[in-house]
Amino acid sequence: MAKKVALLQGNEACAQGALYAGCKFFGGYPITPSTEVAEVLSVELPKVGGKFIQMEDEIAAMASVIGASLTGAKAITATSGPGVSLKQELIGYACIAEVPCVIINVMRGGPSTGMPTGPGQSDVMQAMWGTHGDHAAIALVPDSCQEIFSETVRAFNLAEKYRMPVQVLYDEIVGHMRERIEFPEPGELEVIDREAPSVSPEDYKPYDSTKGQVPPLAAFGSDYKYHVTGLNKADDGFPTTKASLVDAEERRQIDKVMDNIADIESYEEYLTEDADVVIWAYGSTSRSARYAVNELRKEGIKAGLFRPITLWPFPAKRTAELAEQAKAIVVAEMNLGQMVLEVERVAKGNCVVVHEGRVDGDPLNPGQIMDKVKEVL
């Protein structure tokens, strides 16, 4: 049987990916350029018995998503720019309380209201460091409508598997672009559900990590009664200020991600094997970068593309290897220098690292990237 295909906008693909993953709850607040995610889910969620709620602001939206997730529902919110800033405190809450949820950030320019209808890639450091306190983060950066679909599914999988918030960041260009999408058959893409506890309700501890770094999460309204708090807590979920317990829990919550990078990591390479210069780009910018690589090759310049799909945790190992191999890395991003700082950090001076950015609301074009490559070589 032929696969179901459709011409979908990135934001619509995101909503369809969420449904494929089994999402049953959306809580949001309208903001350009993310609104279509909400609009599609307001139509589709009730059809599958799911719930859609438009809350009074983005903080409330994030709160509702965490509350819904604790009842066992796969939950998502979608926002942009100022809305992402408002959500930060509760993203941290989801980190420390270890509540699975997915946050879609359709990136626009900033700071503040910035350019609501223009693209940007300037929230990428915020995705890691936006909320206060030490924590791990997972952020995915798809570059096409098909990939928005599959990465939204993967975001749910990672959220459920690692019991934490996962952010999907794509810029306005990909969010509003229309492309042909093939709908995967049910079962074709892996769909992961959170692990339920196997111990009796009496013995259940919501943060008991003796059997693994990610403790099973019981649903509110099942047989399990437990406590959830944003305070530092012991394995039983109750607040503690005991240094050794606080330290162990904080570290476990970071280790559960950093010890599993191989599982979480995802990137694509294009003509990097013999590359003298590697263009390091993600999201819509990587599409310009790929074009630039082809053009540069025609001119005899050995260029390649490294495209992270998992942006956080940062692809440090592979980036460091490329820095040893190449003469230069050109980090192309629609901001004035964010991921380039990480690339510089792991390159350790083994190659030249330069940045090509732009924040005027126009996409980074291939010509601009090519000029930079020629300048650096």
């Binding site: 139509v43 719930k51 709160a63 066992g72 529902a73 309204g221 009664k225 109750f238 607040p239």
Partner: protein
């Protein structure tokens, strides 16, 4: 025989953090009695709070308890109730939590008329952070950030709730402990957003600064200022000067409840 509160308290979680004479403990006992009267299955009951001394209450109770972020209880609780409407949802918290930082969530939960019971402990102050003024600190009173007397006017929480669309609004005080559970019971039985404002006391950060020599003085003030709706009906405006009403202040059984409304959305979406 003494009332058995123990069975509702999580083993090993007492003593609580509250100061001697704090009104929040009286409210917790009232809540336990009300949950017992309504025979709430604790497995199927979520107790949600924000941050503050009042908001520490859920941690002591044996149920599905969710201690969230400052001001956000109603928003978290909305997510819980929407996702699992069959659960009993109870919010608890302080005046600062519910009406300052959480004021927006509070009024919108009232507007939606989502089925939950919100017990708001109004001690006229930010207790946990050391006695800064809240939107409910009486004008002229002293707080750690109103050294010359509070210039701010106050929110009347119950009026705010009625105006915002809550369909059950009641008020009592920590000096009327038996009325606390009676009103919470009515709130739990009411299908829709029920607000129970309990005016209580913070001897440590409010009483001390405002020349109450003892907790007893604070309780006396609550007793003299509180007038039941029934008694008030026979009093003149002059006699009601400086008093506040207690009892069931408002009830509307007509306005549709939010999760019922959404169940209709699901029916429509599924073409039924």
């Amino acid at each position: 025989m003494a009332y058995d509160y123990e069975k509702s308290i999580r083993p090993g979680k007492l003593p609580h953090i509250w100061c001697p004479g704090c009104g929040h403990g009286i409210v917790m006992k009232g809540l336990i009695r009300a949950m017992d009267t309504c025979e709430l299955d604790r497995k199927n009951t979520a107790i949600v709070s924000g941050i503050g001394c009042a908001s520490r209450l859920p941690g002591y109770l044996d149920a599905c308890t969710l201690h969230t972020a400052h001001g956000r209880a109603a928003a978290f609780a909305t997510g819980v109730k929407m996702a699992k409407p069959q659960m009993n949802v109870i919010c608890v918290g302080g005046d600062g939590d519910g009406t300052a930082i959480g004021g927006n969530h509070f009024i919108h939960a009232c507007r939606r008329n989502i089925d939950m019971t919100y017990v708001l402990m109004n001690n006229y102050i930010y207790g946990m952070t050391g006695g800064q003024f809240s939107p409910c600190t009486p004008t002229g009173d002293l707080a750690s950030t109103t050294p010359y007397g509070n210039p701010d006017p106050i929110f009347d929480i119950s009026k705010l709730a009625i105006g915002a669309g809550a369909t059950f609004v009641a008020r009592t005080t920590a000096a009327h402990p038996r009325e606390i559970d009676k009103l919470i019971v009515k709130g739990i039985q009411h299908k829709g957003m029920a607000i129970i404002e309990v005016i209580d006391d913070c001897p440590t950060t409010y009483g001390r600064r405002n020349k109450f020599r003892s907790v007893i003085d604070m309780m006396k003030r609550l007793k003299t200022e509180a007038v039941s709706v029934k008694a008030a009906a026979k009093m003149t405006a002059e006699q009601l000067e400086g008093k506040f009403l207690t009892g069931v202040l408002f009830q509307d059984t007509e306005k549709p409840e939010y999760t019922v409304q959404y169940a209709n959305v699901i029916k429509k979406a599924q073409g039924a």
